[in-house]
Amino acid sequence: MSSKPTFIGAVEIGTSKVTALIGEYNGRELAIIGRGECASRGVIKGAVVDYKAASDCTHSALELAERDAGERIELVFLAQTGGHLEGFYNEAAVNVKSADNMIDRDDIRTVCDLAKSKELPAGRMVVHNIRRPFRVDGRLVPTSPENLVGQKLEVGYWNVHGQEQRLADNIHVIRGFNLEVRELVLAGLASGHMITTAEERQNGVLAVDIGAGTTDFVLYRDGVAHTTGVVPVGGTHLTNDLSLGLRLTEGQAEKLKLRHGRAILQARDKTEKVWLDGNFAIGDRQFPRYAIEQITSARTWELLEVVKKKLGHAFSADTCQAGVVLTGGTAKLPGIAECAAQVFGVPAHLGEAPAWVAENLREPGYHTALGLLYYGVSAQGEKSAPSRRKAGFLHSVSRLFATS
């Protein structure tokens, strides 16, 4: 690959804000050189409902990022979320063809194609095919089974698919800026990759990204994404409940949530009250802290319960030894890790960006965009790398990513 740098954009069109990061990729290293943010409009629960409004704010974020970087983006990795995204598991098995039972590349290709060949309902499109480890005669093979000896080769894929129109809407928003969408990446995969380590993924970890409109989760097992999912519930639902329960406007409820909301009920004194604004201005009111905490904690608990329910049998304390890692704007709610630990019955903590990430990008709001860049670059390297020459420079990028 040439040393001429490529300027890559990572865009997350979220419900509350649009984030754009620009990375300079020289074929070996990726450096973040620009960022842009804009309050989101025309997006509800991760889905574009007003093309013009969504385009305007996305393009503003891209322009800001380009101005910050002083460079023009050439392609974009786009995060995808929303309740329309679903996943299913499909596996296939083949008998090894050769007389000496040595597995060759044709066997691997055949079993992979079979595992991915499940037909989707009309209007659905594949977003990701995430392969789980191979099995040779029932024995787990963490790497490639090529040249191993066995009679039966098995593999399974976690297939993520989404609604065609929703996917197209997001792509067209980016195309309206005359940029190519090179990779579409599940937002949960992107952020999960940033907040978990390779070791955690190997031991089993659940990454939960609680955004404003949606909650994305990825369960990692054996080093790969085992199950993914999106729950169309997020921080705005907490705000909405506060608004209804305390008879407040959305803005006031959001303010109360950020100041006094908790994921675990802590207040003991039911008569303790907190000011809405605290500036003693006319119209400022008091609300019982207990009620605020009760509403937010109940909603948070409920949200995490939904995630656990969606994971079903895939999740267990035994298979998720590294616990739960939380990120996203709503993960800043105090006590949320404690809440998650109680719901899932495993240790939980807030996710942090790797140490090499610059201080101004360590906020949970950037985890998805950062993950997009690294995930996208790695996926690009994976696609363009010759299969027999994995030890080349593209592989080093992959390794860089894998150990980050």
Binding site: H128, R131, T143, L167, G176, K390
Partner: protein, 340 residues
């Protein structure tokens, strides 16, 4: 995460979604980027095309060039090759005489601009292209001026001699022309030629003369063949051109009117006069639709059948004047003009 766990979806994938959008669905910045990217593409294509053409030209040059270019510097130029669309090739020594290349001159040492100027100094040469063809050939391609008239002039210290005049007024010696061809050209007079070094300055007003002669030759060659002298004496003052024919008569053309109609009038008048056996001295075509004919001798009307022309009475002869209309049915009192 191990990256080899991800594969491109085999079934309908998000990549099947067509990405191009119409410009109207783009934001202003998007459209600007589209224009910029299109421009960049066009510029890149142009540069590539330029490089390709340049490469091709270099290839052609190298093909014409011998392998050892430095060695050709020492090869003397052979006799220059002339390509012309005219008559200069009839004089095989003309080119060498004009170029006056020094002995043992090499192609590398030739100043083509200077040589071109020498060629163009010969009035007969209109354009000249000189090409070096390595190792030792100089190719000269010229286009020549076409003469439309002759003029008698005298160069310094020489005898009067005939020169040729081109449509643009350039006067030149006329090399390689056959005498039969030159004899068909009319003479110009009276004319004062202004000297310019060894030659003459171009004659002004030749444009209108060229148009008249060209039209006459094309439309009425039988008339043109009788024209001997074209006079520009009154061109500037009266805007008229006098043409003297082989019989000594004068035909006056207006330089401001359409030559075609004037020639047509002349042709018709000549037909009438010939039919009546009359000899004219002057025909003036410069009066618009009126043609004035001045007769050399009075006309004797053709006698009716049964009567001899010699039976004309002296009174009738007296009544006839030299300025009578030369043709048509008219009375003796009528004007000396006739509309055609």
């Amino acid at each position: 995460m191990r990256l080899d766990t991800h594969h491109t979806p085999a079934a309908r994938s998000w990549r099947d979604i067509p990405q191009p959008v119409k410009p109207r669905a783009m934001s202003r910045e998007g459209r600007r980027r589209l224009v910029w990217s299109t421009l960049r593409f066009l510029i890149a294509v142009s540069v590539l095309a330029g490089v390709a053409v340049g490469g091709w030209q270099v290839t052609l040059a190298l093909r014409e060039n011998p392998r050892n270019a430095p060695a050709v510097a020492a090869v003397p130029v052979s006799a220059p090759k002339l390509e012309t669309d005219g008559f200069l090739a009839a004089d095989p020594r003309w080119l060498a005489r004009t170029l006056a290349l020094p002995k043992n001159a090499t192609l590398m040492g030739l100043d083509l601009e200077q040589l071109r100027d020498r060629l163009l100094a010969q009035g007969q040469v209109n354009t000249a292209v000189l090409t070096k063809i390595f190792p030792a050939t100089l190719k000269v391609r010229v286009t020549e001026r076409s003469p439309i008239a002759r003029v008698m002039a005298q160069v310094a210290g020489g005898k009067p001699q005939a020169f040729l005049v081109a449509r643009d007024g350039v006067v030149f010696a006329g090399i390689g022309y056959e005498a039969e061809l030159l004899n068909t050209l009319p003479w110009l007079e009276p004319l004062k030629l202004a000297r310019d070094g060894d030659g003459f300055l171009p004659i002004s007003g030749m444009g209108v003369v060229a148009e008249l002669l060209g039209k006459a030759k094309l439309e009425a060659e039988h008339l043109y063949a009788t024209w001997r002298v074209v006079s520009l004496a009154r061109l500037n003052t009266d805007a008229e051109i006098d043409v003297r024919t082989a019989s000594g008569a004068t035909v006056v053309f207006s330089a401001t009117s359409d030559y075609f109609s004037q020639i047509a009038n002349l042709d018709l008048a000549m037909d009438k006069l010939t039919a009546q056996g009359a000899v004219f001295k002057r025909i003036n075509l410069a009066n618009g639709r009126d043609v004035t004919v001045t007769m050399d001798q009075p006309i004797v009307p053709i006698a009716p059948a049964g009567k001899s022309t010699s039976a004309a009475t002296p009174a009738a002869r007296k009544a006839a004047t030299p300025h009578l209309p030369a043709f048509g049915n008219f009375s003796t009192n009528s004007k000396t003009t006739r509309e055609f």
